[in-house]
């Protein structure tokens, strides 16, 4: 028996070796024969699932347009959702919300009067260049704002009223205006910054002004302020920061694909749209307070001359400074006032 076992072993050992060799040799051939593309298949579903947010399925392309190498960009759907679902909410809340807020404010607080009434004497608050700068920028802003709102909401609000041809032509001209007025607007923002930044550095005084509610909430309270009070400084910095963000994001939309591919354009349009809506809401408040909301305020950007009483109530320290410089109020004839 042992001999049989030994014999069997002596047979089996080389057999096993031979078989091992056989498989070693035949394996690549067999692999070749049984090659299943499925083993190495690229499944679209898996590829898409593996993508991180904002990523694209990208490959190689033989045409010069490198962006065409992006095969599928699922982010397009999120951008679409932002445009069609989120943006109307943001726009609605920001613009309609601000309008309601201002209407309520007007209703409750009423117009903020000059407590002591018009003195009839005025003092120069904004030089002609400053006013020019303001109104150029403001005009640009209004056209940019309206044409921008038209791009986002005109399809729902205006298109049904005037029909596709008229609406398309209007939007086309609006787009051109938007593109070209962007440049004077950017120039205006830069000039405003240069001219007014020195008067808009925040200080401790601003904190007191804010704590006192800026004198807006109650009559007869006028926290002291230099040339610009904290509220105006807020508007200034909103305009500067908002303007820079709009300029930056707009620049990349004006010159597409300079900063990247479609993903960056998607991001910049989102930034542009959100900042724009907040900006517009803020400027609505600015327009309100500078016109309907406060007696005597419009003159500052209208004629440039504000009533001395208005100036003393809102910018007591600035009037003192001006007088110290020898810039006395002009002896203008008494202004025609309401019999109050």
């Amino acid at each position: 028996m042992p001999s049989v076992v030994s014999h069997l072993r002596s047979i089996l050992a080389p057999l096993c070796l031979a078989f091992a060799l056989m498989f070693a040799v035949a394996a690549p051939a067999a692999a070749q024969l049984s090659f299943k593309p499925t083993d190495q298949a690229v499944h679209e579903d898996k590829l898409l699932e593996a993508l991180k947010a904002g990523e694209k399925v990208t490959g190689r392309i033989t045409i010069p347009d490198r962006m065409a190498a992006s095969l599928i960009q699922p982010a397009g759907r999120e951008w679409r959702d932002f445009q069609r679902s989120m943006l109307p909410w943001i726009g609605g809340i920001a613009i309609i919300g601000m309008t309601v807020l201002l209407a309520a404010f007007l209703l409750i607080r009423g117009r903020i009067r000059i407590e002591k009434g018009f003195s009839g004497r005025t003092i120069l608050r904004f030089a002609s260049f400053e006013r020019f700068m303001h109104w150029v920028t403001a005009t640009c802003f209004i056209i940019l704002g309206l044409s921008g709102l038209n791009i986002s909401f005109g399809r729902s609000l205006l298109l049904p009223l005037i029909g596709p041809e008229a609406f398309s032509m209007l939007t086309h001209w609006g787009k051109l205006a938007h593109n070209y007025l962007a440049f004077p607007f950017m120039l205006g923002i830069a000039t405003m910054f240069a001219v007014w930044v020195k008067d808009n550095i925040p200080s401790r005084m601003d904190w007191n002004w804010i704590k006192a509610g800026g004198g807006l909430l109650r009559n007869g309270q006028h926290p002291p302020a230099k040339r610009f009070n904290a509220g105006q400084k807020g508007i200034f910095w909103m305009v500067i920061i908002g303007g820079v963000l709009m300029s930056l994001s707009g620049w990349f939309l004006l010159f597409p694909y300079q900063a990247g591919d479609v993903t960056s354009l998607q991001i910049w349009t989102v930034v542009h749209a959100i900042v724009a809506l907040l900006f517009i809401a803020g400027i609505l408040a600015h327009i309100y307070i500078g016109s309907v909301g406060m007696e005597g305020a419009f003159d500052a950007m209208g004629t440039g001359q504000v009533d001395v009483n208005w100036a003393k109530e809102h910018h007591a320290l600035w009037v003192e400074e001006e007088q110290a410089k020898g810039r006395t109020p002009a002896g203008a004839p008494p202004r025609g006032m309401p019999a109050e």
Partner: protein
């Protein structure tokens, strides 16, 4: 005709680019615009696949959804077309399109890119069928002549299929059954929100 669709069977595409050439030739597409392109993923590596991609003529098309001037419309066959007369060249459709289908004749100078151009499924545009005006703006209207898109008609391996969505999906399913594998109907789920092969 029922709802027409495109289907690219990447397991068959040999990246010959004949679909690209055929499309450019059929519609006299200008330099720089490619209504169709072939993208190769995993180039030179295991699992290399080439996919011919153009406008997929999506159900509930994103381009139509985001267009500020609403210049898109869907035909009875399910083809997504647009009016170049209404288009203002803003680029929104390109941002929203999952497939990079919209093309513009110009890039740059203050965002004026010219009227958007894209695959029409060889179905022209809003102009009267097969008129010179339609040809100049949108290319040949093969559908009006009872023909299918030239890209698929010319596909040497029949990787790219065009026609009734139900039929071409059936063809693809049979192929997968027969050969035992399939890397997917590229873009189908994204475009049509369904996936007959699960």
């Amino acid at each position: 005709m029922a709802r027409v669709k495109f289907l690219c069977d990447a397991d068959r595409c040999i990246e010959c680019n004949a679909c690209v050439t055929a499309c450019k030739n059929e519609h006299d597409v200008p330099w720089g615009i490619n209504r169709r392109r072939v993208v190769t993923i995993n180039d030179g590596k295991p699992g290399e696949r080439s996919v011919s991609m153009a406008c997929m003529h999506c159900t509930d098309a994103p381009c139509a959804a985001v267009c500020p001037v609403s210049c898109f419309y869907t035909t009875a066959d399910g083809v997504v077309l647009h009016s170049k007369d209404l288009c203002i060249g803003c680029g929104y459709c390109f941002y929203a399109c999952p497939f990079g289908a919209p093309q513009y004749p110009k890039v740059g100078n203050f965002g004026s890119r010219g009227k958007m151009d894209k695959c029409t499924y060889c179905a022209g545009g809003p102009e009267a069928d097969s008129t010179p005006a339609e040809y100049a703006k949108y290319g040949q209207n093969r559908l009006a002549e009872g023909k299918l898109p030239i890209c698929a008609e010319m596909c040497s391996t029949k990787s790219l299929l065009a026609g009734d969505g139900a039929i071409i999906a059936e063809i693809y399913k049979e192929r997968v059954m027969k050969r035992g594998y399939g890397s997917g109907m590229w873009g189908w789920k994204t475009a049509y929100s369904d996936s007959p092969t699960g």
